[in-house]
């Protein structure tokens, strides 16, 4: 787990209490079809996922390996995937980790709830090869692609009941595009603020030097 991961490889934290589902997803993402583009770390509960991500946050200076994406089951005992989603978005609001929720239930309300809470996508189980591209689209490794294609990507796939949920999802998908843009902007606010302060300090210094040099000239004139 502490080993170096190649660039361009999406590091996925997989959260699912079912050992069968965990194994299927692990094998799917490490198959030849995925050409080594995923590195999967699997945990069996949302609590362990939080602990893992919390450790990574604190130990980030020492640990080079971070997580590019969380893929979580919705229905889990003690802490659900929805609660995990909200906790992850709250953990790092400036640089949120993409979260994709999976569920065996194709419930429009559940899907809307997750997307409104910031989930990048919602996939109805069982995960299949055709869902892998959706995972690639949503990882932070491919953020540019994700934002560029977001208007199209955010519409539900053939797993989801399109007629019932397309209208419901579209407004939230637009909100998600806006939200992701505003998150990116807010990420730069501290730097922008520091830059403005620096410019102001330079201007003040310049003014002080100018006045000092004028004062010296006056003194010279007077002498």
């Amino acid at each position: 787990m502490g080993r170096e991961v190649e660039e361009g490889v999406t590091r996925v934290l997989l959260v699912d209490d079912s050992p069968v589902d965990r194994r299927v997803v692990q094998l799917l993402l490490s198959s030849n079809a995925c050409a080594g583009s995923f590195h999967v770390i699997a945990v069996d509960s949302a609590k362990k996922a939080i602990e893992f991500l919390g450790l990574k946050e604190e130990g980030r200076k020492e640990q080079e390996q971070a997580i590019d994406m969380v893929l979580t089951d919705y229905c889990m005992p003690e802490m659900t995937g929805y609660e995990l989603l909200k906790a992850i978005k709250a953990l790092s609001p400036l640089k949120p980790i993409p979260v994709i929720v999976m569920s065996s239930e194709n419930e429009p309300q559940r899907i809307s709830r997750c997307l409104n809470a910031g989930a990048e996508d919602f996939i109805v189980k069982p995960l299949q090869s055709k869902d892998v591209q959706r995972l690639r689209n949503c990882s932070s490794v491919n953020t540019q692609f994700c934002n560029a294609g977001s208007d199209i990507k955010l519409l539900p796939s053939d797993h989801i009941v399109v007629d019932a949920t397309a209208a419901a999802l579209l407004p939230s998908s637009r909100r998600r595009v806006l939200r992701s843009s505003s998150v990116e902007l807010s990420h730069y606010f501290p730097f922008l603020f520091k830059f403005i302060l620096l410019v102001y300090a330079i201007l003040c210094l310049g003014e002080l030097l100018h006045r000092w040099s004028n004062g010296c000239f006056l003194n010279l004139w007077c002498a």
Binding site: D17, S18, P19, D21, L27, N32
Partner: protein, 158 residues
């Protein structure tokens, strides 16, 4: 038995399972993912399913024996079994789990007990076929290995 004969036997067994509605296209998806990077993909997942399914069914029986049945808990276990069945392509077990959940929601103990019997029968039937399948796959792998060794020896001798 030659690898070709074992392959035919395996295909016949799997096709029969599809024809009887025991498996759906999710199982085909798993078969397609089996390759050189994951040569034991199917056997791993099937073995996990058999072990996990056994555990869940025992737990369901235990829960339904209680004088005051916690139907939410029962529903949670059935949901797990339904999920893993869907992931493996165990269509018949999955569909019975859907019925089971309806009885859980109706808080019907009799309904749950009857459906538990049904899901148990179907699960054990599927499991025995999966075990036969795994045996054939193991024999096929051994046969392939043996042939490779024979070919290597023959090359060495020549």
């Amino acid at each position: 038995m030659a690898a070709a004969a074992l392959t035919n036997q395996l295909n016949a067994l799997v096709n029969n399972m599809f024809a009887m509605g025991l498996l759906d296209d999710q199982f085909q998806q798993l078969q397609m993912l089996q390759d050189s990077t994951a040569p034991d993909f199917v056997s791993e997942v099937v073995t996990l399913f058999c072990d996990d399914g056994e555990r869940i069914i025992c737990e369901l029986a235990r829960q339904l024996e209680k004088p005051n049945v916690d139907f939410d808990r029962v529903d949670s276990y059935v949901h797990q079994l339904k999920g893993s069945s869907a992931s493996v392509g165990a269509q018949k077990v999955k569909n019975t789990c859907i019925q089971f959940r309806e009885f859980c929601q109706q808080r019907s103990r009799d309904g749950c007990l009857k459906t538990l019997d049904l899901v148990r029968t179907e699960f054990y039937d599927l499991r025995s076929k999966f075990q036969a399948m795994l045996q054939i796959m193991n024999r096929k792998a051994e046969s392939t290995e043996k042939k490779k060794n024979c070919d290597a020896e023959a090359e060495g001798a020549s």
